[in-house]
Assembly symmetry: C2
């Protein structure tokens, strides 16, 4: 009790600067971006009413109801949840429809993994029922741990431990003369999106891939394990897709096209993004006997996890047999699309989505975000009935089939690409939600806007804004790009949720929002992501669920009602300028590293720096790094900065004929795409943001140029510089026209 | 076989630049530092003859013989080894005597550690006999795992896990409101010298201290464990001293005085450097049940080791009882001191030592270094018989009682302080030796000299010099202070071996030399530091033992025979200049951190950046950092640079009356001491090098100033700046006089 009191005594001190003479007090009460003074007042009144309509107990009840059975795409529960969601949206005054796509969704028929020698072991591949978690006993229709879009296979071979299984790890293996050709690799989760691991393994000739959750990254090293604590226990395993999503997301058989009846499809097993080798996720309980049986060199320091063994790399003597067979049927994916038509601009759409499908119960992922979206939609629907219909159309989407690879959203976006390209103002995404700090990612043009929203919403645990808390956390962690006042930088988006088709395929400005950092957990994609787990370790009283509704509901309403759309391009120009600096500096870094490396290798110093008993194979010399012509990009950057300032000045000037201006503002993001897409992945069209080809989740900004530099493809780098400069020039020209 | 061939094919490429047009080829054949051209030729001839007298099989045989029983101070075997060593030295032509001191050396009468709750466990505290290691069965007279100079005690209390147990760890505990007063702490080995852990624990009010070897730092995380591999197994424990050596080393009862009959002594248990609380080292097998029983907050990320548990901090519910009782007798420490009188300058002594006592068998620590010294001494003795008597006197020392706290060397140095202050030219130390890379630490004035030696000795695994290999390793590891040519920087010395009384108490220029980096091991201070272990995992064919003899033998002979002593003060001035830059920059860093910290705390951001459920206690505001007057030190630095250049020019100019010059050169290091010593530890007189008061092994350069800044004692910092500037000025004045 003492600590508790002391804590709140301090809090009153802590809160003072945030509400007192702190940063931007004017903004808190001044006019909102894109609104007149009186409009701001009305809008703030509307938001107060909106806040009052939210209720955490509804989020709690919906969570319990929607997670009482496994609800993955194609499950009866997923359909029932879709119907319930549609029914509720209709009750709240939306035109809601359940939109079905038939998508490739392999489910396991056979899964077996055996250690054949030197010792024998048969992997359990099962998450046991826990007395403390009633959900875990609901085995009926539960999908066991598996990786969707793994190949079928019955393979046998020596094991090689490949750390996270990213390209840099294979360079280490090469030093040691370890070749994975004809071998089965075992990689730990982490360090990249999971689909990268089998992709890189197959590129190197491996015939199978096992992915396990190491307790270092996801287990007892992180915290007490379930059911005692929140973290992954010995038998917990992480399901998930291993489609090659950085090439394209969505149904692997129908890139660029919607998975509707009659669509032309790749044969299931031969679709370009389906993995070429069998892949299976296992628990650390199952991984330990396998890893302990591997011999060969001791793994490098950074490869070692938290199992109580010495990590070796192999190959062998551990030998395993991996058998996987899947039912390659399609499953019906049910998106719920709910429209609230705008009173003045029905053809300007504010899109708002969260996925609904889970791997098992999904209380955290995705229902925690979905129920926040529902209460937000309910309140906006009720406000419309009370006479506060939004000026622009709001479209809510409850996506199915996100888990296997953003299928629900991608197929819908591909289905409506032409209409969305004309009408979509912005897409606001949420996914799992938790307790803690607001994370803001998205199009940089929305940075001032979403910061303004974050300043206006209070944190449920402290009497400060959610922006103040996020700022405090960033400063505490030593993030030097965050000042004591002003906007927080928002993160560029890679991939991992449903904003990808909107932002990166069509060029629709997007935001991704959610709270986290205080709700510990290791239930991700396991049978233990249950109501029981979430109520003990997640946002237990749904206070952050309501707060998320406040943040995203405000953003939705302000976008729907603003006179001038709140896009501000100086923020974009500043960040793009920073990315340009990064890629130009990257070339110099690569040059210095190459020179250092080549000097070490060619002088023989590399060899004598090693222990000869390790019998390491010296690396090859790298080709020298040429000087690259960045001039077109530097010129485009400068033009962008000027154009952005001009159009922001125009936007800030207020009324007049804002319709043409608004259209330029929300269509501008389209001009950051190139219709040929990125090299080797034409589906990804955005030239500023993309998921990394070898990171999967992680963003690569200015991806065409940056990945060419990272791959040392200097010819492609020069070509991509020219392309990017052209794209930025077109974008600037549009802003310049609007500013006139 | 393939790898082996490939490797040697590469080697021939690798070796070329080192022996070809590489760095400093002239130096390899040109005159040696301090020798004339003809003198250099003679000296090189002598060294070739010296090399030919060395034989690894002798090192092997001596190691086997000297480690066939436990040989700690006071053991019959230690006396036998002393007698054997003295006899051999006499055979080789030395005047050798066994010099006895009676030193406080507590040995355990009772050791017991019990977990009283929530579960019961009685710690084994024993290293089992291994069939693969015959030595481990020699239990007769073996000291079990214990910490020398622990207090007696029978204490019972809740456990608190304190990570490495250094001051920063206690700041974390404070944040969490965890108080160790009346508790028993459990710390892991590493992060500091072991004696720091109970010292800091006692300062914070703990009543007992357990130190364990975590497998993360010293066990299966590092490599396969003994007897399968070299690393510490489940039941291996690290013995060692916990005297407060950063205050003074040597017999705790006789600081500044030799432990001879009739000397005034502190009562044993009340000596200032004897620990005030009971301390016991345990294995990770014994630690795991204790750590697993600790509750409370999960330990911070950096505190977590490699045991398969979630690390918690406590306090409790784990409750332990620790009972320790010691025999506080004195033991006879037998140093062997062997003199080979110089033919021309008998009163200029080149001192050369390695300790002989171990904790158990000590094949690695210290016998691997000791046998290299023996063969080196043998060869020098035989050369003298052949007519190549050294011009200066060489004194070999085989130290006893190093393990409990440098007692053998310290008592001898204290005994002969006045004579050593006049006669000692330099002290060359070795300790454990292994396979791999030459490590060079010591007085910076000897940097060019020892680099010259390292250029002239070949690595036994590659056809390059040991300097080339050390350089390659440093460059491979990204050490930017190492260039492609020129001298390698040598490391300043903290503590941990017998150079400390010479260098830091008397100001005798010292070097510490040894090979390592390729002989993996976790046998340190355990019963498994055996002949069997060393022959499998150490310098198995004693090739590096012979190489160490070549390096240190050359250094000894060159110092003994040089016309002008090879001290070069520009190197010292350059490093001191760098240290001055560091301490001035450190004040600015502390200032910035303080400002950042105070802004975070006073604005309340610190509080709202935390998870309120963690109930963290906000830190206090730090007093603002004043501006400190570094001018005296900057002026002294500049004067030192000029004086050093002048005297080096004089030294390089060759003959003339070099006797006065030589005396200045070797006495100069004395002028880097201050007779009042460092604040709170007058025994440590050197003003440039000291072991850190809170690191123990780790060096603090310019310790008076640096530690005052680190402790934010600005008044002391100003006073220490003035003192240090005065010391440096006195030193410069001496060089200036010699240069004239």
């Amino acid at each position: 009790m003492r600590r508790f009191l002391l804590f709140f005594a301090l809090l009153s001190v802590a809160a003072r600067p945030a509400s007192g003479p702190g940063p931007m007090p004017a903004a808190v009460n001044g006019p909102l971006l894109g609104f007149s003074v009186s409009g701001s007042e009305a809008q703030r009144g509307l938001e107060a009413r909106f806040d009052a309509l939210l209720d955490p107990s509804r989020l709690d009840a919906w969570t319990r109801e929607m997670t009482d059975a496994p609800n993955y795409v194609g499950s009866p529960k997923s359909k029932a949840n879709a119907e319930m969601t549609a029914r509720l949206f209709r009750e709240w005054g939306y035109e809601a429809e359940v939109v079905r796509y038939d998508v490739l969704f392999p489910t396991p028929l056979e899964r077996s993994l055996e250690l054949l020698g030197p010792n024998g072991y048969r992997a359990k591949l099962d998450e046991p029922v826990l007395a403390e978690d009633a959900s875990s006993a609901k085995r009926d229709g539960m999908l066991p741990p598996y990786n969707a879009y793994s190949a079928d296979g019955d393979v046998e071979g020596e094991l090689v431990y490949v750390n996270y299984g990213v390209p840099a790890d294979y360079e280490e293996l090469e030093r040691l003369g370890i070749d994975v050709r004809g071998k089965i690799v075992i990689a730990r989760y982490g360090g990249s999106w999971r689909g990268i691991k089998p992709k890189v393994a197959a590129e190197h000739g491996a015939i199978g891939c096992i992915i396990y959750s190491d307790p270092r990254d996801d287990g007892y090293f992180q915290g007490d394990v379930y059911p005692e604590g929140a973290y992954r226990n010995e038998w917990g395993a992480q399901r998930g897709s291993v489609a090659d999503m950085p090439t394209y997301p969505g149904d692997p058989t129908t890139p660029f096209r919607a998975s509707k009846e009659g669509v032309e499809r790749y044969p299931a097993r031969e679709a370009p993004t389906v993995m070429k080798i069998p892949v299976l996720p296992i628990s650390y309980g199952d991984a330990q006997p396998l890893l302990a049986a591997i011999g060969g060199p001791v793994a490098p320091m950074g490869w070692r996890g938290a199992l109580p063994i010495t990590y070796h790399m192999g190959p062998g003597p551990a030998r395993v047999r991996l058998r996987l067979r899947f039912d390659w049927s399609t499953a019906p994916a049910y998106n719920v699309i709910a429209r609230l038509e705008g009173s003045e601009f029905p053809d300007q759409w504010i899109l708002r989505g969260n996925h609904r499908d889970a791997w098992v119960f999904g209380a955290g992922d995705p229902i925690s975000g979905h129920v926040a979206m529902m209460d937000e939609a309910r309140a906006i629907g009720l406000l419309a009935r009370e006479g506060h219909r939004p000026r622009r159309t709001i479209v809510y989407a409850s996506w199915d089939a996100e888990e296997p690879g953003l299928l629900g959203s991608t197929e819908w976006v591909e289905d409506h690409a032409e209409e969305l390209a004309r009408k979509a103002v912005a897409y606001l995404n949420t996914d799992s939600n938790g307790r803690g700090f607001l994370g803001m990612g998205g199009s940089h043009a929305l940075e001032p806007f979403i910061n303004e929203v974050a300043r206006d919403v209070r944190d449920p645990q402290f009497d400060v804004s959610v922006q103040d808390r996020a700022r405090a956390r960033a400063r505490f962690e030593g993030n030097r790009s965050v000042g004591v006042s002003g906007d927080l930088p928002i993160s560029p988006l890679g991939s991992g949720s449903d904003y990808t088709p909107f932002l990166q395929h069509l060029g629709i400005a997007s935001l991704n929002l959610g709270f986290g950092g205080e709700s510990g957990g290791g239930s991700y994609h396991s049978a233990y992501d249950s109501y029981e787990h979430y109520k003990r370790f997640g946002d237990v009283d749904f206070a952050y669920g309501v707060t998320l509704a406040r943040v995203v509901g405000r953003a939705t309403l302000r976008l729907a009602n603003a006179d001038v759309l709140p896009f501000r391009y100086e923020a974009l120009a500043r960040h793009v300028g920073r990315y340009v600096d990064e890629v130009t500096a990257l070339v110099e870094t690569v040059r210095e590293e190459t020179e250092r490396h080549n000097t070490l290798v060619s002088s023989g110093a590399w060899v004598i720096a090693q222990d000869p008993r390790d019998a390491l194979i010296p690396p090859d010399l790298e080709p020298a790094v040429p000087h690259v012509n960045f001039a077109p990009l530097l010129n485009a950057r400068d033009r962008l900065a000027a154009a952005a300032s001009a159009v922001d000045a125009r936007s800030g000037a207020g009324p007049g004929d804002v319709q043409a201006l608004n259209e330029t503002l929300y269509l501008a993001e389209r001009l950051l795409t190139h219709q040929d897409g990125l090299p080797r992945r034409p589906w990804f069209r955005h030239q500023v943001y993309a998921p990394g080809y070898y990171t999967g989740y992680g963003v690569k900004t200015l991806p065409g140029v940056r990945e060419a530099v990272e791959q040392r493809d200097w010819v492609e780098a020069e070509a991509q510089i020219v392309r990017l400069a052209g794209v930025l020039d077109g974008f600037s020209a549009s802003l310049e026209a609007a500013a006139r």
